[in-house]
Subunit: 158 residues, 2 copies
Amino acid sequence: MTDTLDTLDHIDRKILQLLQQDANLSATELADRVGLSQSPCWRRINRLQQAGYIRRKVALLDRQKLGLGIVVFVNIKLSSHGWNMLNEFEAAIVGFPEVMECWTMSGGMDYIIRVVTKDIESYEQFLRRRLLQLPHIQEAQSHITMTEVKNSTELPLG
Amino acid sequence: MTDTLDTLDHIDRKILQLLQQDANLSATELADRVGLSQSPCWRRINRLQQAGYIRRKVALLDRQKLGLGIVVFVNIKLSSHGWNMLNEFEAAIVGFPEVMECWTMSGGMDYIIRVVTKDIESYEQFLRRRLLQLPHIQEAQSHITMTEVKNSTELPLG
DNA sequence: TGTGAAAAGGCGCAAAC
DNA sequence: GTTTGCGCCTTTTCACA
C-alpha cells in the first residue's frame, strides 16, 4: 500500500505491455508469457495495480457500429485567462460526454479537444448549444477528421 | 453468430456504458445494475461481443507514473498525395509505438497525430530520427501539450 | 425474451518450501 | 521465486414461464 516501487524491471514492463493489449489475461496466462510461475506473477500484478501503474480496465467499443461517425478536433482560445475562468471551462468540458479528450497547449491556442458525435447535425447541436454557450470563448476552430488511421490506448513502454 | 443486431435497446446501451467504465464487471454484477437476472444479461453481453460492439478489453496505465511526461500533437502535411505515399506513410505511423493517435483531416492539414514520449529530448529524437525520416513530409508542426484535462475512452452513448 | 438454479471449471489468494 | 492447494466466484448451461 505504501509501496513506492519506482523501478520496474523488464518483466514488469512486459506484464504491463500485455495487459495494455488484453485486460482479460489471467495471472496464469500472463505467467507463462513472461516466463514465470503464477504466484510471483500474481504478486507483481498486484503490486503494479496497487502502486497505481494500472489505473483501470475498460472495454473499448466500436465507434462506427454505435453510429458515432463524426470526430472533430477543436482548437479553443479563451478571451480571459483568470484562474476561475480556466477552472469553470475545464469542469464544463469534463462534464461533456461528447468530449473525449481535452489538453491545454503551449503556444497560441489554449485548448485542443476531440469531440465525437453521431453526425454533422448533432455536432452542430453540440457546438452551438453546449460548447459555445460556455463563457469567455474567444475562438473555436473545428477540424473535422476523415479517417481513423490509429487510435490506441497503448502507452509506449519500449 | 450471424446476428445482425442493428438495434440496441436502453439495457444494451447501459451494459455497454458500464463496461466502458469497468471491464471487470461480471455478468452477475452487471445483471443487477441494469435490473436483470444473470442469464439474459449474460446472453446480451455475448451478443454484444460477438456482434463486435465490444472490440476488446484493455488495461489503462498511468502515463506519468511510467515516466512518459511529454504529449505532442503534430500537424503533418505531405508533399505528394499519391495513393502509395499515403499508404506508406500510414503504415509507418501505425508502426510507431510513440504515436497513439493518427487521423486524416479535411481541410488544410493532411494528418494530426498524438505522440507520447519520456521527455523533450526523446521527443526530439523521435521527430528527427523517425518521423522526419519518412519520405514526402512537407511540413510537421509540433504543438506541445501542458496538462491533460480529459482523456477518456468512453464513447458517448447518451 | 426473462427467470431460477445448478454444474464445472478456473482463478484469486495464501501458505509452505 | 517456486510449488501446492483450498474455496470462491464466474462462466456457462438447462428446464421453465
